[in-house]
Amino acid sequence: MTDMTLSHQPSPEAVKARAVLLGRSRWGIAEIAFWVIAAACYFLLPTKLSLLSEIAILGLLALSIDLVLGYAGIVTLGQGAFFGIGAYAAGLAAKHGAGAGPWSDPLIGLFIGGGFAALIGFLTSFLVLRGSDLTRLMVTLGVALIVDEIVNQAKWLTGGSDGLQGVLPSPVLGIWDFDLFGRTAFIYSMSVLFVLFVIARAIVKSPFGLSLQAIKGNPLRTRAIGMPVNGRLVAIYTIGSFYAGVAGALAAQTTQFASPDYVAFHRSADALLMLVFGGAGHLYGGLLGSIIFRTMQDVLGNITPQYWQFWLGATLVGLVLFVRGGILGLLAGLRDRATRNGGAK
């Protein structure tokens, strides 16, 4: 065809188009600044390191929901199940693997936690392939409830409602021991978050990531152009479960504890809220959301816990009624309007 001969000398428009596409995956200044500030918190807020580790872990959990819900459009209320599975798997590995050579290393624990969650995620992904939002919502919730029941009832394994005690991870890579001030925990959690974020970023901006957004937009057409829709959804659900599992593993290792609280409904709901606060479908939505959520919780919760819960609910109601797309959605809308006005002048 004539196109083939042309393809050796791309037209100027094609060169420009390629630059536009590739430009979307280039690191911006705001992005770099975000991570520099995050790292600088080690020196800026040395007394808040435990809280910051917790934020990083929650951010990772919210990021996992973003991959599944924000990009692929699978509505889930049960991501806490994978968080819990990862926490218990890594916790048990640390508890029983202590002193057993490389197996007790926290990094191995991360893979055990993430891998186990990914396995369960893969197996249950087939339940969310079809059905309306409502069905998916109830199915994911049901799976989480089943995991919750197992965790509570299998006392011989999980310690039941008392939680899993005696989780004592070895030093990271055999060098850095977890300290009382949470320094190791912060650097460790932050590094894991960064690595997984970079991978998620690549996924989202790849043809695979683009295909997920297409499926979210119009499954009928994606099938008509020959896309294996079910395969893609299984893949991203499994990846999302892995991410949530790693977040859970991090939580178990840094707090040296795992409890049924990790798989409870409110864990899934909180993480979803963080993502919605920040903006679903934006890479930084979950991270931004977890920062705001956890800070608000700290400030308002110190007044009274009820105060925090009330304002959380009120914020959520207001967000749904007035601000579509969370904080980042709001910013993107403002930027669009600014460029449109600029273009008109």
Binding site: S206, N218, P228
Partner: protein, 253 residues
């Protein structure tokens, strides 16, 4: 030697409850065909296309694509085997750009859709092909805007561009010109006329000017069944066809 048959249906039946939407249709589409499918509203044209493309499963009967029985195949598998279609109502990705939409389609065609580490746009041959398609349809100036906010006519053109990007052997166009302004209609006809000669084409259309300019053969579908088949002259002069269309719209040639 007559050209080989690319698409064929044998005794194809589709029932919705008690309604017979497709009534034992035997249909053959040879390579290079320019075939129009016409019929009054509710004759079952779109149902027939949905059966051929795999959106619907037939109640009974068989479908062959390039000699292979594809009756039990999913829409996805048929697409990979060389079948592409457009939709009567736009089925596009509102949050993507036209360029991204085509990049996606080309990547699926070339089995690069699972690629997860390189950014979209790293394959310059894909970008080039997508842009030349957009140019062909006269919409390259809107390559980077959101599809959801495009004018209806432009969306209609993109709808066709997506199907073309699949490089199909068989192309089903379901009312491609419906709702498209006059000057953009010409564009659609030009694009269709410029398609490679070996592609087999089915056009569903209500606009009889378009049908008679485009088609080398015509089938008339009535009440789900194949009513009559023939060349445009035969159809235009067939009194039975005129009767079917009476009250529906005038057949002016």
């Amino acid at each position: 030697m007559s050209p080989k048959i690319l698409l064929e249906s044998r005794q194809l039946v589709k029932r919705f409850g008690g309604i017979l939407a497709t009534d034992h249709v035997d249909f053959q589409l040879p390579q290079g065909a320019r075939h129009a499918l016409i019929g009054p509203n509710g004759a079952g044209k779109t149902t027939f296309v949905n059966l051929l493309s795999g959106v619907l499963t037939p109640t009974s009967g068989e479908i062959f694509l390039d000699g292979v029985n594809v009756t039990g195949w999913s829409a996805r598998r048929r697409a990979h085997a060389g079948m592409a279609r457009t939709f009567q109502i736009n089925q596009l990705f509102a949050d993507l750009t036209p360029l991204e939409t085509l990049m996606l389609t080309i990547a699926e065609r070339e089995n690069a859709g699972w690629s997860w580490f390189r950014p979209v746009g790293s394959r310059s041959d894909f970008v080039d092909e997508a842009m030349s398609l957009l140019r062909q349809l006269g919409i390259e100036d809107i390559a980077h805007g959101r599809v959801g906010v495009l004018a209806y006519g432009k969306q209609r053109l993109l709808e066709i561009a997506v199907a073309l990007a699949q490089k199909p052997k068989v192309l089903l166009l379901d009312e491609p010109a419906a709702g498209v302004p006059e000057h953009e209609r010409e564009q659609i006809l030009d694009v269709v006329a410029a398609l490679p000669g070996d592609v087999a084409l089915i056009l569903i259309e209500h606009d009889m000017h378009l049908v008679f300019r485009f088609a080398k053969s015509i089938s008339v579908l009535v009440n789900g069944g194949l009513f009559v088949e023939g060349t445009p002259e035969e159809i235009a002069n067939d009194p039975r066809v005129r009767k079917v269309y009476l009250g529906e719209e005038e057949v002016n040639v």
